[in-house]
């Protein structure tokens, strides 16, 4: 029997891995910088929480609805945002986080600063799910998403994304509809973030606007960057390392955020490809072992 503490950490890490994975679709696959990912995470969580507490929908119905709502909001916000050039995009997505957080915080319908409580773990077979079972459920959904991603990467959609990422003008000249594919990436990434939000709300049973602020966006971005932008396993590894780091670094609690900022800085300055990128130390060591 695994302890409840460990299960909690595992679930948190998998939800982060799902978020990092979904941001990687936008930033890694399609090459669009987004600093607003936590907003869609929040939209998913709030949709799920409101449907459960106010309308009495069960988790199994609200889960897909959260993903769809986050996806639709992502598409609606993505259309104007993706018309502007990449630096504007970074700032407009950042603006989205502030506005969405303000909406959650100031409109009484969303519970204000107190957030929304009283969300329960999902029911199945007439009883409440155990945390271990919930963990397995999230894991299965995540593996399913990873398989989907693998197929998507090799399809024409994946090819169109990589052409936009590498050279937008050339892609346009080859007849790739740039805005359409960017919006598609944005929608898909937001929908998966919404899904993660729904899982998060039912796991935490209590959500607040502060859970979905700008710092959360940065954390997700860090995970992607740390592991390696655009790689398949990098963001997941990043989520595991940065998700567990706060737990094992309790002794240096006081300096944690400081070290964290420096880590981010040093990572980009000296290992911009991330630890699983094509030019990273880990790969080089691995290659040398193979050659020998």
């Amino acid at each position: 029997m695994v302890s409840g503490y460990l299960i909690t950490i595992f679930i948190t890490v998998i939800i982060y891995a799902m978020l990092a994975f979904s941001l990687n679709i936008i930033t890694g696959r399609a090459g669009q910088i987004s600093l607003g990912h936590s907003a869609f995470f929040g939209i998913g969580a709030y949709t799920s929480a409101l449907l459960y507490t106010k309308a009495g929908f069960s988790f199994w119905i609200s889960l897909p609805i959260s993903a769809v709502v986050a996806g639709i909001v992502g598409a609606l916000l993505g259309i104007p945002c993706l018309r502007v050039r990449d630096d504007f995009l970074a700032i407009t997505t950042m603006g989205i986080v502030f506005v969405i957080e303000a909406i959650f915080l100031y409109i009484p319908f969303f519970g204000g600063a107190m957030g929304i409580g009283g969300i329960d773990l999902p029911q199945w077979f007439g009883r409440e799910m155990q945390k271990t079972e919930y963990l397995i459920l999230i894991l299965i959904v995540f593996i399913f998403l990873l398989i989907l991603d693998r197929r998507l990467e090799r399809s024409w959609v994946g090819l169109a994304w990589s052409s936009i990422r590498e050279d937008e003008i050339a892609a346009h000249a080859m007849g790739v509809d740039i805005v359409r594919f960017k919006v598609l990436a944005f929608t898909l990434g937001s929908a998966i973030a919404g899904l993660a939000g729904s899982f998060y709300a039912h796991f935490l049973t209590f959500i607040m606007p502060q859970n979905f602020g700008f710092a959360q966006s940065i954390l997700i971005l860090c995970m992607v960057v740390f592991g390696g932008i655009g790689t398949r396993w990098g963001p997941i590894l990043g989520a595991i390392v940065l998700g567990i780091l706060p737990e094992i670094s309790r002794p240096i609690m006081e300096y944690r955020t400081f070290v964290y900022g420096l880590l981010l800085l040093a990572m980009m300055r000296f290992q911009p490809e991330g630890i699983l990128g094509s030019e990273s130390i880990l790969r080089k060591i691995f290659k040398q072992i193979l050659i020998r």
Partner: protein, 285 residues
């Protein structure tokens, strides 16, 4: 009442313009979103506070704060940005975010998490004409901003270095082919921009009568919104946008009393403007 709010809005807008100008100058020349600029702003406030404690003269502490900020801006450019300029655009952005987080934490660890009072008095007193009232710090902000903006404008339009800086912002490669030392110009850009951020930090420290570790968090993002609103890299546009945001904030919150977070106003203005003018108020495609 209306004139009063107008004056308050302009005072706040002036400080915003001081913070945003450095950002827009850095963007104009290096195409980097310099988020840690707000860290330098906070540093300026702390250096100013510390030197005010030592010497007790406001003007001197303002000057020392500006010098401190200026120098740290130069170090950031020299050791963090220049080596990674050839990398994809996301690299400097993330370095900047990392540095900003680390700087905020460093301030908290070194100077403590509490606020420090910065009650500098310059002895000009408040100004009251009927119901119209300007506090001493507001007058101070208006004077200092005015002097700095005049200085910047003269510098950029009348001197050879200013000319080179404007040329670099348009096309650094061609400017370098004319024999201009582009690296020195970039360094100069950071020195001036960071000095302005430092001045803004000191002014806000005096205006709110406090200096605290996370005082840069909101300006970090708000200044970016202002810079985008004005058209990234566009100096007159930035000043205009800063004043508009300052006025919009005072009017929406102060006059209409809408229960809305003051700090989201800049972003809403930005998103609305970008829908109609994707390159900002005065930006060119």
């Amino acid at each position: 009442m209306l004139i009063q709010q107008l004056a308050n809005g302009i005072a706040i807008g002036s400080v915003y313009s001081l913070i945003s100008l450095g950002l827009t100058m850095v963007y104009g020349i290096l195409r980097i979103l310099h988020i840690s600029h707000a860290g330098i702003y906070t540093l300026g406030a702390y250096v100013g506070w510390f030197s005010f404690r030592l010497v007790g003269n406001f003007w001197l502490s303002l000057f020392i704060g500006m010098i401190g900020a200026s120098f740290s801006g130069y170090l950031v450019e020299r050791f963090l940005y220049t080596p990674i300029l050839h990398m994809p655009r996301i690299a400097p952005l993330i370095v900047s975010i990392g540095l900003f987080i680390a700087m905020e934490e460093a301030f908290r660890i070194i100077a403590g998490p509490h606020t420090l009072a910065y009650n500098a008095r310059i002895g000009i007193g408040d100004l009251s004409i009927g119901s119209f009232h300007l506090t001493e710090t507001q007058i101070l902000i208006l004077i200092v901003t005015f002097i700095i903006l005049i200085f910047l404008w003269t510098f950029l339009t009348k001197t050879r270095i200013g000319l080179a800086m404007r040329a670099c912002a348009q096309d650094a490669e061609i400017t370098s082919s004319f024999g201009v030392n582009v690296r020195a110009i970039i360094a100069f850009n950071f020195l001036i921009g960071s000095a302005m951020a430092g001045a803004a930090g000191v002014l806000i420290g005096v205006y709110d009568n406090q200096v605290w570790p996370t005082m840069g968090s909101i300006p970090a993002y708000k200044a970016l919104a202002i810079v985008v609103l004005g058209g990234l890299g566009n100096i007159p546009g930035t000043v205009l946008a800063a004043l508009i945001v300052g006025l919009a904030e005072t009017f929406f919150i102060g006059v209409l009393a809408i229960p809305f977070p003051r700090d989201a106003v800049a972003f809403i203005a930005m998103i609305i403007v970008l829908m109609f003018k994707p390159y900002g108020l005065l930006g060119k495609a």
